[in-house]
């Protein structure tokens, strides 16, 4: 149930990004709502939990579907960010207001 709700939430966020936020460019770029969600989730989630990876994968998939070219670029990019946050950053850096290492 949690996974389904997250899927729907990410899908709606992707639609908001490409249709609503497209009118509010920052330095000529559309604000990346999916990236923000992935960053926040992975920063605040426990290092041992894996839902952050699923969110990165699904968020990347929806962004790729709404873009052109090969599907997989945004998936791999967001997954890499997710892995870097979980396995590297949080292992060596204490981030304020998140779980203690």
């Amino acid at each position: 149930m949690k996974v389904l709700l997250i899927t729907i939430f990410l899908f709606i966020s992707a639609v908001i990004q490409v249709s609503f936020l497209a009118h509010f460019p920052i330095l000529s770029r559309t604000p990346n709502l999916i990236l923000l969600i992935v960053l926040m989730w992975n920063l605040y989630e426990d290092r041992d939990k894996n839902l952050g990876f699923y969110i990165a994968m699904l968020g990347g998939l929806f962004l790729d579907l709404f873009s052109e070219g090969l599907i997989g670029y945004q998936i791999l990019l967001l997954l890499t960010i997710s892995v870097l946050i979980k396995k590297v950053l949080k292992k060596h850096v204490r981030i304020p207001f998140t779980q203690e290492i």
Partner: protein, 267 residues
């Protein structure tokens, strides 16, 4: 140890599922994209309209200070244009060409499909329209506004939606004519991404000024001729180069455009 082995196994399973997902979605990318666009199109259209309204509201509030200056500037420009119209009306041929360029006879010249914008790609000047193969849309078809201004061309077509490159899409090039006084000067327009459009290959000895109107040319068969592109904004002239360059301020504004016409055929 067992826990570690089980964790490792989970990672491998996730990795395999990921690879399968990427491969399968690429194989069936047209169907997958068409499916997601179909189910999200009502929401996309609503959000696009809402985004425009909010953007225009904030834009209006932010520009209150400069509105008075803009009104005065436009009044002056209007007076100049009124004078020009009187002069132009004396020449019947030029009047007919301007009428065409202004798109007052769009329906008589082109077979059109009315479409709406749904979304803009997060990574480039590519937009989605709510008409596709089922509506007779094909790759390469130009998209224009009701005022006869060129906006871009169809890039990819799916069953019920299509993607179009805007004029400013990276590496989109097309032939244009610069209208300077009585002269027509040929040049090439090239999209730079981020809503920027440049002119290149303008002969070094060509006399052009800021504000000169740029229209499409039919050389290269990319767009029909005499569709409005924009005005010259800033000219770059170099003694070492055989050509001048310039930036274009486009007539087409995605923020205020809701409907668009796809040119199916030229009559």
């Amino acid at each position: 140890m067992q826990g570690y082995g089980s964790k490792n196994k989970n990672y491998w399973v996730f990795f395999v599922v990921l690879i399968l997902l990427i491969v399968l979605t690429n194989i069936f990318s047209s169907s997958a994209r068409n499916f997601f666009y179909t189910i999200s199109s009502p929401l996309q259209e609503s959000l696009w309209g809402a985004g425009q309204s909010v953007s225009n509201l904030f834009g209006g509030i932010a520009s209150v200070g400069s509105v008075k200056d803009e009104v005065n500037r436009l009044k002056l420009e209007n007076n100049e244009l009124s004078t020009k119209i009187v002069l132009l009306q004396e020449t019947q041929d030029e009047n007919a060409a301007l009428k065409e360029a202004l798109g007052l006879e769009l329906n008589k010249k082109y077979e059109l499909i009315l479409a709406k914008f749904m979304s803009k790609n997060p990574d480039g000047d590519i937009v989605s329209l709510n008409k596709g193969k089922n509506d007779g849309v094909e790759e390469g078809m130009p998209i224009i506004t009701a005022g006869g201004v060129i906006a871009g061309k169809i890039k990819e077509v799916y069953s019920s939606y299509s993607k179009a490159s805007l004029l400013s899409a990276n590496k989109l090039t097309f032939d244009v004519r610069i209208k300077h006084e009585e002269q027509d000067i040929s040049a090439v327009a090239e999209g730079q991404g981020d809503s920027r459009l440049n002119l290149s290959f303008i002969p070094q000895d060509a006399k052009i000024t800021d504000g000169d109107i740029v229209v499409t040319d039919c050389l290269g068969n990319i767009f029909p001729e005499l569709l409005g592109v924009g005005k010259i904004k800033s000219i770059k002239k170099s003694d070492t180069s055989p050509f001048q360059e310039a930036e274009i301020e486009q007539f087409f504004d995605l923020k205020s455009a809701l409907d668009i016409f796809i040119v199916k055929a030229i009559k």
